[in-house]
């Protein structure tokens, strides 16, 4: 086994472990609010992200393509994108109150990625070596990362909403950003996600027509494409209803959380049923 493969094998265990430690530190901060937890949380997350950058770079180098060759790799990229986005949010807002919940999601997604890893099943496709397709894959993963953030904020919104509505003032009250801020963060993430996904879909369609001509049969039926179109439609509909039917924050939050659960379940199902992510084009070496 080469040193690169050794690193990849080690990182696949270290990554979720590091994110777990970071989540625990943020959890300690959320529940106990100690100075020590504050000093540990962000550095642990940064450690995880640095390791993640190295991991993704190693993957790219190893497979000589954008690291989206299977569900495992895609999930890992999503986890990284969420981590990076959260770090920016934390740095800008100087607020760590949502850290436990977001970093826990990052840990969960990376854990899923590690569990689903099947190096021998990674699709080596000329597509992923193509810059335009790589842009498509990147936008799609950014979109999913944004949907993850939207779901996390949606979950927190629902919990806080419930406590404020019922006058319970339990776990979440007093520890999170204001309800209106959570709603704005959720809605912002949804918009970014949908726009990024629109870009991904548009590039994907353009690329598909370029490669397969007008008979789209061979590529439209790709499970991942169908899943993406369904996702795009669902979130687009939610945003439309928000605007036209004046959906309140609660409805949007429910859709955000339910939408992400549906996406994750579908991704896992696609991976196991089809065994191949985006089964497009011929295998390695062929175009």
């Amino acid at each position: 086994m080469s040193s690169l493969e050794t690193f990849l094998s080690a990182a696949i265990i270290l990554l979720p472990l590091t994110y777990l430690l970071a989540a625990l530190a943020y959890g300690w901060l959320f529940f106990a609010g100690t100075e020590r937890a504050k000093r540990l949380s962000t550095p642990l997350l940064l450690t995880g992200l640095f390791l993640h950058v190295a991991f993704l770079a190693a993957l790219t180098f190893h497979w000589a393509q954008f690291p989206a060759g299977d569900v495992s790799q895609a999930l890992s990229v999503v986890a990284f994108a969420v981590g990076l986005t959260y770090l920016l949010v934390e740095w800008r807002g100087r607020d760590r109150s949502t850290g436990f919940w977001i970093v826990s999601v990052i840990f969960f997604i990376q854990l899923l990625s590690s569990i689903l890893r099947q190096p021998e099943a990674v699709a080596q496709s000329a597509l992923l070596k193509n810059a335009i397709f790589a842009a498509h894959a990147f936008l799609a993963l950014v979109a999913y990362a944004a949907f993850v953030m939207a779901a996390a904020y949606g979950f927190l919104f629902l919990r806080l909403y419930r406590e404020l509505k019922s006058g319970l003032f339990a776990l979440f009250y007093g520890k999170l950003p204001p309800l209106a801020a959570l709603e704005r963060m959720m809605a912002g993430a949804l918009h970014i996600g949908w726009l990024a996904l629109t870009g991904a879909v548009a590039i994907g369609i353009f690329n598909g027509y370029q490669r397969y001509g007008e008979s789209g049969e061979s590529w439209v039926a790709d499970p991942m494409i169908l899943l993406t179109l369904a996702t795009w439609s669902l979130y687009g509909l939610a945003l439309l209803l928000r605007r036209t039917q004046q959906w309140q924050g609660r409805q949007t939050a429910i859709v955000s959380v339910a939408g992400l659960c549906a996406i994750l379940l579908s991704l896992v199902a696609v991976n196991f049923l089809v065994g191949n992510f985006h089964s497009l084009g011929p295998a390695t070496g062929q175009t």
Partner: protein, 430 residues
């Protein structure tokens, strides 16, 4: 090796006081001092030969006199007569007053400044009142080195308790609980549009609290125009709206505080539904401070409406008080640390005259011995010998001086008398 905790000498301090726990308001108000009366009391206290320094802390919930006695005999009697029994003879009944001495008095003051002794645990106003008491005594000239230092230490303990713990965290009054809810829902209270229905006493209190916390967009309405006019005299920056237009005003508000004396709800569930229909997507916080309730409870069933009454606010206050109580052990730890610092400072103070005598004694011996030995050395070496012996004496005395001052982190010598005897420092200078 970690330093052993320093033993504590007792400070020459006496505290005589009464507070809300041991005396009812009708007694406390008669021993309350403000303005000129406070200054006069301080001057009279210091006129007594038994007392060396004095500071008076008098608030609505406590009156405490801190003194540095010149002599143990008579100091308590002097304070009792001047500050308490001359005004309220019955205050000498058992349990009405408390007396603390030395470090216990210092510890008590630190607890007071930290809000631990307040009627509402953690209330922050007492810190400013302690500061005022120290400033007044300084201005009148009745505080000296010891009391000044003690009050500084107490204020530092109070500041640390506020910044390092959550002892003052969370709202513990109805008005501030409303503000807390606003901050939990909306981002900035400055931008929150507030409607107050009812210009009575409770409405005023709520408005005052909201303005104190930064609210800038308050509109008030009341059935009676006279009462509204009085309200506006006290709060000239608020806007008004006709009572009949209150439903329209609800539509454009984020927070509605209702506090009227009406026996029927002045805001119905239908009113709320209608208002929300005209402002979809914007949450509405309704705070009902009326008894009987001024807002129909069914209004809470509307999406994005958060309705809180007195019971619900009280639940929030109790939750916050519970959290404050959980901070007490941390605050007490801070008090112990500051008490240690104060004690260390005092030990150093006591040791200074002794160190000065020790150094003087050593210098005397050095000169004598040098003088008698100089004849055996060439003149050009005399300066060097002088410098050498000075350095020797300085080096030899350095460690004992540090130990006596307690500045090397270890327990200082508990018996300064022993040091005096060892070096015969009680002998008169020749």
């Amino acid at each position: 090796m970690p330093a052993a905790p320093a033993s504590r000498q007792d400070l020459p301090l006496l505290l005589v006081g009464t507070d809300h726990r041991c005396a009812p308001l009708e007694l406390r108000e008669r021993v309350s001092y403000a303005g000129e009366a406070a200054e006069e009391l301080l001057v009279h206290l210091l006129a007594r030969p038994e007392l060396g320094e004095a500071v008076l802390l008098s608030t609505c919930n406590r009156t405490e006199v801190y003194v540095k006695p010149r002599q143990d005999e008579g100091s308590y009697q002097a304070v009792l007569e001047l500050a308490f029994s001359s005004r309220v003879p019955e205050i000498t009944e058992e349990g009405r007053l408390y007396v603390k001495r030395g470090l216990e008095a210092a510890r008590h003051l630190m607890g007071v400044a930290s809000g631990l002794q307040s009627m509402v645990l953690g209330e922050p106003e007492i810190h400013g009142q302690v500061k005022q008491a120290a400033t007044l005594a300084d201005a009148v000239g009745t505080s000296g080195t010891l009391l000044r230092k003690m009050f500084q230490a107490a204020l530092k303990a109070g500041s640390r308790a506020r910044t390092e713990t959550a002892i003052t965290g969370g709202a513990v009054s109805l008005g501030y609980a409303t503000v807390e809810l606003v901050k939990a829902i909306f981002k900035h209270i400055e931008a929150t549009r507030i409607l107050v229905i009812g210009a009575g006493e409770t409405g005023r209190l709520a408005t005052r609290n909201l303005l104190d916390k930064g609210a800038q967009r308050i509109t008030v309405t009341n059935r009676s125009a006279d009462r509204l006019a009085d309200f506006l005299e006290e709060f000239p920056t608020v806007d008004t709206v006709d009572f009949d237009q209150r439903n329209s005003a609800i539509t454009v508000s984020d927070l509605v505080v209702v506090t009227t004396g009406a026996s029927e709800p002045v805001v119905t569930a239908a009113d709320v539904r209608s208002a929300m229909g005209r402002r979809p997507g914007h949450p509405l916080l309704l705070v009902d401070l009326g008894v009987p309730r001024n807002i129909e409870p069914a209004a809470s069933r509307t999406e994005n409406v958060f309705l809180h009454d007195i019971d619900s606010l009280e639940k929030l206050i109790q939750r916050n008080l519970k959290r404050r109580r959980e901070e007490i052990p941390q605050v007490e730890e801070i008090l112990e640390q500051e008490l240690d610092h104060l004690n260390g400072w005092f030990r150093g103070l006591e040791a200074e005259p002794l160190i000065a005598r020790l150094q003087k004694q050593a210098e005397k011996v050095r000169r004598q011995e040098l003088q008698s030995a100089l004849g055996n050395f060439p003149p050009e070496t005399h300066d060097q010998l002088d410098r050498l012996t000075r350095a020797l004496v300085r080096k030899i005395l350095h460690h004992p001086s540090m130990r006596l001052r307690g500045r090397d982190g270890r327990d200082t010598l508990p018996h300064l008398d022993l040091v005096r005897e060892l070096f015969k420092l009680d002998d008169e200078d020749e």
